[in-house]
Symmetry: C2
Subunit: 271 residues, 2 copies
């Protein structure tokens, strides 16, 4: 687990600060290639990384919405992160990613200084077989899924695309395949790890594209440090597919059963 | 049901276009007062209304995230809506609401031209007694809840604030008390109609404030026209409360059982 060279995740989200504060430049990384352009999760992580690296950041991310405005092309990009409002313990952000002067991604984020309060887990992780007892799934023809070790217990990617009726729920164990410990950009990427609900619902591939993803971070950095590179228990469900758009609602828990992330996305589909 | 004068909802979200395209001015309305300042739902509706009234808008809202950066003060405000990216059938928006030159609310929205496709409801409405058989609940000391007729079947606002342990789920029927038919701003407001999960979980009031709300619109305007001012079946649950922030995840169905909206929010709480 782990290695001495830079992890490909860190290489992909690496940003160089420019002359203007909050403006960064970067380049897409081939290890995270999707069918066309990079995996949405790595884009989400990279855009969040601009907030993480901003010199004026207050606190840690609690809420993050990323909008995929257009396909990100392989190559160079620029990200501009700007605080829109800074309060005593919360801060609001607007972020844009551009390529060739065109906006390809926008995001808003809320960072906050957390304080210890009454806490309660209301959505416990479902019982699932141990990850080590399960085969590694999702044999990838694509590049980015090779970056994750996924062990499905329900709703895997169909073996046969025969158009049979399925449900929209998937359950799996997942972790970084090279043992990179989780941090906030790592969680943002993991929130997008689920393949499209319409694929498992219909056992059929149709053109799709996430238009917006919202991530609520319930973990703080202490909880992430305790989670490390361990297995994450993940569940995702679609609530409705209707006239070109479907949703997916998901949870990520660590081995201790802490709910690290709740996340939702809206996805365009054709046909 | 209904009246010939302007509904207080329309009065509250009324915007006047300024000299600069996409810049609007408005004023908070006393009928929607919360404990301090206006109900978050009416702010969400008003910010979305700036997108609805923008002369360059393409299609109807499908995704909407509103960030409550600071308390909105009673009085005048300015809203600036700007398309960040316009594609062939989708359009991305960034919106800011300002008071006295300070940003109080930000939002991103995606509007889209929908096409008829394979559709499937995966999250059906739960069985609930008929609304007319239930008493009108949530006797309001505040102004804004009087704008809605709410009939709870589960998880009402506690009668006694005795600190007993509860769950975070509420189920209710809800409709505009004056019979205003639903439209997209109306749905955005309704997405914020649920009182704070921490109140019902703990039978105790603590200071709270929504920091971000995301609304996915699965309904199009034809479905909204069919829904009219009829009863909406609503369910909300909190998945976790942890160190100052809790989430709420909710669904809104019409009487025909169509899932009009799925929505999530992250709420700050103290203690």
């Amino acid at each position: 687990m782990g290695d001495s060279s830079q992890h490909v995740f860190d290489a992909a989200i690496a940003l160089e600060a420019g002359a203007t504060p909050g403006v960064f430049s970067g380049t897409t990384h081939p290890a995270w290639a999707n069918m066309v352009g990079p995996f949405g999760g790595i884009t989400a992580a990279t855009v969040l990384q601009a907030v993480m690296q901003h010199p004026d950041r207050l606190g840690e991310p609690v809420s993050y919405t990323v909008n995929f405005c257009a396909g990100v092309a392989d190559g160079a990009f620029e990200i501009e992160a700007r605080p829109t409002r800074t309060n005593r313990s919360t801060q609001h952000w607007f972020v844009q990613m551009r390529q060739g002067g065109e906006v390809v991604t926008t995001a808003t984020a809320v960072t906050a200084v957390r304080r210890e309060t009454f806490s309660s887990l209301e959505h416990a992780p479902p019982p699932m077989p141990e990850p080590d007892s399960l085969p590694r799934g999702f044999a990838p023809r694509l590049e980015w899924p090779r970056r994750y070790d996924m062990r499905f217990t329900e709703g895997p990617l169909p073996d046969v695309w025969d158009g049979r009726e399925g449900t929209t729920r998937s359950r799996l164990w997942v972790r970084d395949a090279a043992g990179r410990p989780l941090d906030f950009p790592g969680l943002a990427a993991l929130a997008d790890v689920f393949f499209p609900r319409v694929y498992v619902r219909r056992a059929r591939t149709v053109p799709i594209g996430t238009v917006s993803m919202t991530v609520y971070f319930h973990a703080d950095s202490a909880q992430l440090a305790a989670t490390g590179a361990g297995w994450i228990q993940a569940q995702v469900e679609g609530q409705v597919l209707r006239n070109g758009f479907f949703d997916a609602t998901a949870q990520l828990w660590n081995r201790a059963g802490d709910l690290l992330v709740t996340t939702n996305q809206l996805v365009y589909y054709k046909e």
